[in-house]
């Protein structure tokens, strides 16, 4: 196939990133990495109007495209193996082999070079070439062909001078090996590449950092000066587990100073007790809106973003007090946080539940009552259904003329939790019903943007209508906010207890 051959040549020939000339309008941004069976290379990224863009001439060189510019009409024709993409400047729609697709931004010409949104490769080029092209924006990867590129989330759960615990979550589950090589623990995966999501790992005496390996599908744990030994624990499923833990043990005594050091061995008690799988360790609370986004506005001038933050803080302290569970607030102040970022903060902190707090609005002042929403399956069609049935997070399959939407399974993390989210929503709704007024149809599903990427049971709670004068007053009052907090707390406890029984 022409694409593969061209890619092979391009990947072999180009080792260094292609430098992008910055201009007055386009700014360069961190490059994407193109991963093919033949190797990797960098793809330069320019920022234009807030969008990440690829240079069309670079894509043409890499993928063997022919680009023709229609100077009269101002259009662009991009062809590959006799099939064409037609783009019109100023329009974010493109015709791919006769089918219309939408892009987040139109193609723009800057300094004599055409720039196209990064989504162009997955939405236009993938279907055109019938090759799977997977665009992973958070890790800035473009994966071409049927490659196994598991997503590897690493978090440092606990660290002191004596021991540290690193949890790895791998999706889809991929066999791995752990080896100790000159001061580093190398975790290698049987895959073509890895998509590491390392978050922020604080430098400590045992773990100095976690870095992706440049040349191999592996992640390296840089060990600190206090390192003595390590132990890899497969939490479930053996060497092909989707979740495993590496415990790093230090030379410092774990017991108070003066006591003899307790040498770690197989007979030693677990360093850190692993909670049973049904238990909750962390809960993400998402105060809706914030910063530039006021959300709904009450008759009395109350802003939704203020109400949601106030209730979130009350809930945070109630959960800490009553349950002793870690709470992650997706924002803790009047800041603008993108909807993807909210789910991402919950995911990166390994929250076990995601609760998004909102206040409602209606065209009618009479509309009143709390409502609980969870993500509905039917709005996302077949993609979600397939993702929800898959045992792990299925890798996306692109190309072949199927509809290319951004809602690919790995991004639709919530698909695996439809049932549990519905159960959580039901319990929270029942607890709310005992304490606050409810709308006539208080339990609903819908395509909620903030829930889509949440990798855990997730719900939206609309506490009441700010457009209703009585409810606007209640929403800012302490008794009402406490009633909502109490209902959420009881709902969380019921959900936890039900999960323990399963």
């Amino acid at each position: 196939m022409l694409v593969a051959a061209t890619l092979a040549a391009a990947a072999a020939a180009v080792a260094a990133p292609v430098a992008l000339q910055t201009s007055s309008t386009a700014q360069s941004a961190a490059p994407y990495t193109l991963v093919t069976r033949e190797g990797r290379r960098a793809l330069a990224v320019a920022r234009s109007n807030g969008q990440d863009m690829f240079r069309l001439d670079e894509l043409a060189a890499v993928f063997g495209l022919t680009v023709r510019e229609d100077t009269l009409a101002g259009g662009l024709t991009i062809s590959l193996d006799g099939r064409t993409i037609v783009m019109s400047p100023g329009r974010n729609l493109a015709s791919v082999g006769g089918r219309l697709i939408s892009l987040p931004a139109p193609a723009v010409r800057e300094d004599g070079a055409w720039l196209v949104p990064v989504d162009f490769v997955s939405r236009a080029l993938g279907p055109l070439s019938a090759t799977r092209i997977d665009l992973r924006k958070p890790s800035r990867l473009v994966i071409v062909g049927d490659l196994t590129v598991p997503r590897v989330d690493v978090r440092l759960d606990a660290e002191d001078a004596a021991r540290a615990r690193l949890t790895f979550e791998v999706s889809p589950a991929t066999p791995h090996t752990v080896t100790l090589e000159s001061g580093r623990l190398v975790v290698s995966f049987e895959a073509d590449a890895v998509d590491p999501r390392l978050g922020t790992i604080r430098r400590g005496p045992l773990v100095a950092g976690v870095t992706p390996e440049a040349a191999a599908p592996a992640v390296a744990v840089e060990l600190g000066p206090a390192f003595a030994s390590y132990r890899a624990v497969d939490v479930e499923g053996g060497a092909g587990a989707e979740r495993f833990v590496i415990e790093v043990v230090g030379t410092a005594p774990a017991t108070p100073p003066g006591a003899p050091p307790d040498p770690p061995g197989p007979e030693a008690a677990p360093l850190i007790a692993l909670a049973p799988s049904g238990d909750l360790r962390a809960i993400a609370i998402d105060p809706g809106h914030g910063g530039a986004e006021d959300g709904a506005c009450g008759a009395n001038g109350t802003l939704e973003k203020d109400v949601t933050l106030a209730v979130a803080r009350r809930l945070e302290s109630a959960i800490g007090r009553r349950l002793g569970i870690r709470v992650i607030l997706t924002r803790d102040g009047d800041e603008t946080v993108a909807l993807d970022e909210r789910a991402e903060r919950a995911n990166n902190n390994k929250a076990d539940l995601f609760i998004s707090l909102h206040a409602n609005a209606s065209t009618a002042r009479a509309a009143a009552g709390a409502e609980v929403f969870h993500l509905g399956l039917e709005e996302y069609g077949g993609e979600a259904e397939r993702a929800s049935r898959a045992s792990g997070v299925a890798l996306p399959v692109f190309g072949g003329g199927t509809r290319d939407i951004e809602m690919i399974p790995w991004e639709l993390a919530q698909a695996r939790y439809f049932d549990r989210s519905a159960a959580l929503a039901g319990m929270v709704e029942e607890e709310l019903r005992q304490r606050v007024p409810m709308s006539p149809r208080a339990l609903q599903q819908g395509p909620f943007r903030v829930l889509v990427g949440a990798n855990m049971p997730a719900i939206v709670v609309e506490m009441g209508f700010l457009t209703n004068p009585d409810e606007a007053r209640a929403l800012t009052s302490e008794p009402f906010q406490n009633a909502v907090v109490q209902a959420l707390l009881e709902g969380i406890i019921r959900f936890r207890d039900a999960a323990r029984r399963d």
Binding site: G90, R91, N92, L93, G98, R99, L100, S102, L103, P104, A105, G288, H289, E293, D294, G295, A296, C297, E304, L339, H358, A359, N360, A361, S362, T363, A364, R365, A366, A367, E371, F373, E378, E379, Y380, G381, R403, I405, E406, M407, S439, P440, R441, Q444, G446, P447, F448, R449, V450, V452, V460, E462, F465, L466, T467
Partner: protein, 198 residues
């Protein structure tokens, strides 16, 4: 001579169809709420006449919690995209009493395309988002009023994606995912099978 004969027969046939539509089909539509959307079966346009079709539009109930299906007259549009535009224009306009409009005042339609797969892309002016009152419910009703108005009246439209000011958007007001075409959803409609006759 023979050609004239064929032309004459064709004209007679068209006339017969038009008469049948006017005498039999149209009164039938008036007589009972249409189970089938009427737009597809709309008669051929006649020049110089502003034809109307009956379409089911969706407005917010007086209580503010549901959509109400209301049957309204909408200008006839030649072809699928044109008919879709006429329906959207009526849907984003004022609501008949006692209902409320699901779209913010000042919202207009910038463009509309229908793909050969039946996905309609409706590009609305920025008011659809900037003047939206917010709230999950109000936003849900806004989105599904438009999605349902197109998918219910035009069987060739299977899903609708709303764009704002020429751009693909995440949401209108922070809740409902607009990154892909949404299929019809009548769960929010009070009377999906029996539109209010206006």
């Amino acid at each position: 001579m023979r050609r004239y004969l064929i032309a004459g027969l064709a004209i007679a046939l068209v006339a017969a169809v038009v008469v049948w539509l006017l005498v039999v089909a149209v009164p039938r539509w008036y007589a009972e709420p249409p189970a089938e959307p009427p737009a597809e079966a709309g008669p051929a346009p006649e020049p110089g006449e502003t034809r109307k079709i009956h379409a089911t539009l969706y407005f917010v109930s007086p209580g503010g919690l549901r959509l109400v299906a209301v049957e309204r007259e909408v200008p006839y549009g030649e072809g699928l995209a044109e008919q879709a535009r006429r329906i959207v224009e009526a849907q984003i306009g004022d609501a008949p009493a006692p209902y409320a409009a699901p779209f913010p005042a000042g919202t207009s339609m910038r463009a509309l395309f229908v793909t050969d797969r039946g996905d309609a892309f409706v590009d609305l002016s920025r008011e659809a988002s900037s003047r939206h009152p917010g709230g999950s419910l109000a936003e849900t009703l806004t989105v599904y009023a438009l999605v349902n108005a197109l998918t219910v009246n035009l069987p060739a439209v299977s899903a609708v994606q709303i764009l704002v000011d020429g751009q693909e958007v995440d949401t209108l007001a922070g809740h409902i995912d607009l990154r892909q075409p949404l299929p019809r959803n009548l769960r929010w409609v009070e009377n999906p099978d029996a539109p209010v006759q206006q």
